[in-house]
Amino acid sequence: MSAISLSAVRKRFGSSEIIRGVDLEVNTGERHALIGPNGAGKSTLFNLISGQFRPTSGQILLNGQRSDRDPPETIARRGLARSFQITSLFARLTVFETVRLGVMANQGVRFCFWRTAASQREVTNDVLALLDDVNLSHRASVLAAELPYSEQRALELAVTLALRPEIILLDEPTAGMSVEEAAQTVALVRRLTAGRTLLVVEHDMDVVFSLCDRISVLVHGQIIATGAPDEITRDERVNEAYLGKGLH
């Protein structure tokens, strides 16, 4: 069974069709990359899978269950977590509090108003462990908005992982990073997502090749190829469509 399965998914905004009949299978446990030129519809596809938009037609299955009519929070509870391309966390919360939101969601501490959040020891321990994982322990009491960019990305990752998701959608996890930082992030993602299903949108081909098992290429709202990295580099259609030149 595939972790994510899209069949004949279409999405129309007004008069323009952005996604034009996408079929996509992401196998359980694999690391799958979604690449394609700007404006191909990668972000829209992410938004469809994570529930922000509803497809105009077609269906989406998560672990074999229909999900395309569910709101984001239901999809999140089914074990799908996503990060965002534009870092969009909580401006008034500290790093610790931000990660705690994710942990509380995971542990089901939601509508609790009779105890303080600080008194929940299990939550606190989990948060500290996660911060340690992404090397943000020393930043715990800093406001998220005041972190440097790469640390914000790490925080974004920590929040996403706090949900202990089976399926993780990462939207350009290394965008705007230096080569060094990108490499660190890739290592981090590799380490922390072991054993989970991963779908990544990424522009940096080095990252894609070092991280992913399979690649799908999205052009003009359609998937033109899916396969292992070496298959994709050899695919003529991909080379043609993808800016008219080779990938390397």
Partner: protein
């Protein structure tokens, strides 16, 4: 702040809060109204400070609490024996129930939509109020009388003040505590980024409904407290004025500091009580103050005071001086206008064959046709502007 400071502040606060116990009805009543307004504004601000939801219809929940309390007191008169100290709970309950109901609808949308829905709900209740005789008692409202309980007669308002003080303190503590609970934290994050919260698996609508209900419940408590003090309520409590009051008070005081709304409410209620006897333009001044604060002190008075600690004293004094000079001149002009434009002045002039007649303001005889009357306030205002300009230039130079 060291320990001695802290003790001194607590002691001063205790004295101020307990002093009304010795007051006569007249001032005990004012003290009650100040506390109630402070609690109401703080409850209103729960929605804004946490979830960035701006309600323009909180008078509904306040009013619901007030009606519930007075209805319960009437039941008491008829033989039900609920001690007075528990009567405000009726306000909490009705605020909670109506808050859940209205909150469910209002929080379907955010931003300006939310504001408009809360406003529409308030308008709806306000327009229904006088129709629903059995519940709201028509335009005359319903009234009751406090019955002695727990060894106290509650005939005098300073005894009632004790109850109001106790419940208000509980309300404040509850609001403070809530901010630290998981739900409070989630609500806080919701104000920053609702979408992101949904992707963490939180049902944000439910969170908003809970927050709204809590805010409404504490507003209802405030209403219930005023209910036991006033022993009387009518549908005008649902009117635009009572919904606008917490908005104005909160943002003048400072919405993002815990005691900002309470401070704003206390100041405006206190001043309002004093100045409404002296001037008829109190509402105009309140509106002007509100706009000035929104434009120049977006953090509110308390918020600005807290954040501007590091500024030199000289600057603070100059700033205050500029504000004082400008407002003195503005007040003079407004008060003069209110006299000169009044019907009675017109008839006085007509009696004198249309010539300018002198008027009295602040115990000074003034003749509208003399240039000095108008030149002086302009000079004063100009001086204020100059002070503030000079300050700005120094700031830029530094």
């Amino acid at each position: 702040m060291n320990r001695y400071h802290r003790i001194a502040v607590c002691l001063a606060a205790a004295i101020v809060l307990l002093a009304p116990l010795t007051f006569s009805d007249r001032y005990a009543n004012l003290a009650i109204r100040i506390l109630v307004a402070a609690l109401f504004a703080t409850a209103f601000n729960l929605l804004w400070r946490q979830a960035r939801l701006l309600s323009f219809g909180h008078g509904v929940y306040f009013g619901a609490g007030m009606f519930a309390a007075v209805h319960l007191m009437r039941a008491n008169e008829a033989g039900l024996n609920v001690p007075l100290i528990l009567v405000p709970l009726a306000g909490v309950l009705s605020g909670l129930i109506i808050g859940l109901l209205c909150g469910f609808i209002a929080t379907l949308r955010s931003g300006a939509y939310f504001s408009m829905i809360t406003l529409a709900i308030a308008e709806l209740i306000y327009s229904l109020g006088p129709r629903w005789q059995a519940l709201f008692g028509g335009e005359a409202g319903i009234s009751s009388m406090r019955i002695p309980s727990m060894g106290l007669s509650f005939a005098a308002l300073n005894e009632v003040y004790l109850i109001v003080l106790g419940w208000s303190a509980l309300g404040f503590v509850a609001i403070r505590f809530f901010a630290k609970t998981p739900l409070g934290q989630i609500a806080y994050a919701l104000g920053d980024n609702e979408r992101r919260l949904q992707f963490l698996g939180y049902r944000t609508h439910a969170v908003k409904v809970c927050l709204f209900a809590l805010s409404a419940a504490i507003s209802g408590l405030a209403g219930g407290l005023l209910g036991i003090a006033a022993e009387n309520v009518d549908y005008t409590v649902f009117g635009p004025a009572s919904s606008a009051a917490p908005v104005i008070q909160t943002f003048i005081g400072g919405a993002d500091v815990l005691f900002g709304p309470a401070f704003g409410a206390a100041i405006l209620t206190g001043f309002g009580n004093v100045f409404s006897d002296v001037t008829r333009l109190w509402l105009l001044y309140q509106g002007l103050a509100f706009v000035v604060v929104v434009m120049f002190l977006p953090a509110g008075i308390v918020g600005s005071l807290l954040s501007s600690k590091k500024r030199p004293l000289r600057e603070a004094i100059a700033n205050t001086l500029a504000v004082l000079l400008c407002s003195a001149s503005l007040i003079f002009l407004c008060e003069s206008a209110s006299i000169l434009l009044s019907d009675s002045y017109a008839s006085l002039r007509a009696n004198q064959g249309g010539s300018w007649v002198s008027y009295r303001l602040f115990n000074i005889e003034l003749l509208p046709s003399s240039p000095i009357v108008w030149a002086l306030p302009l000079i004063v205002a100009l001086a204020g502007v100059l002070v503030s300009c000079k300050l700005k230039r120094q700031e830029e130079a530094a």
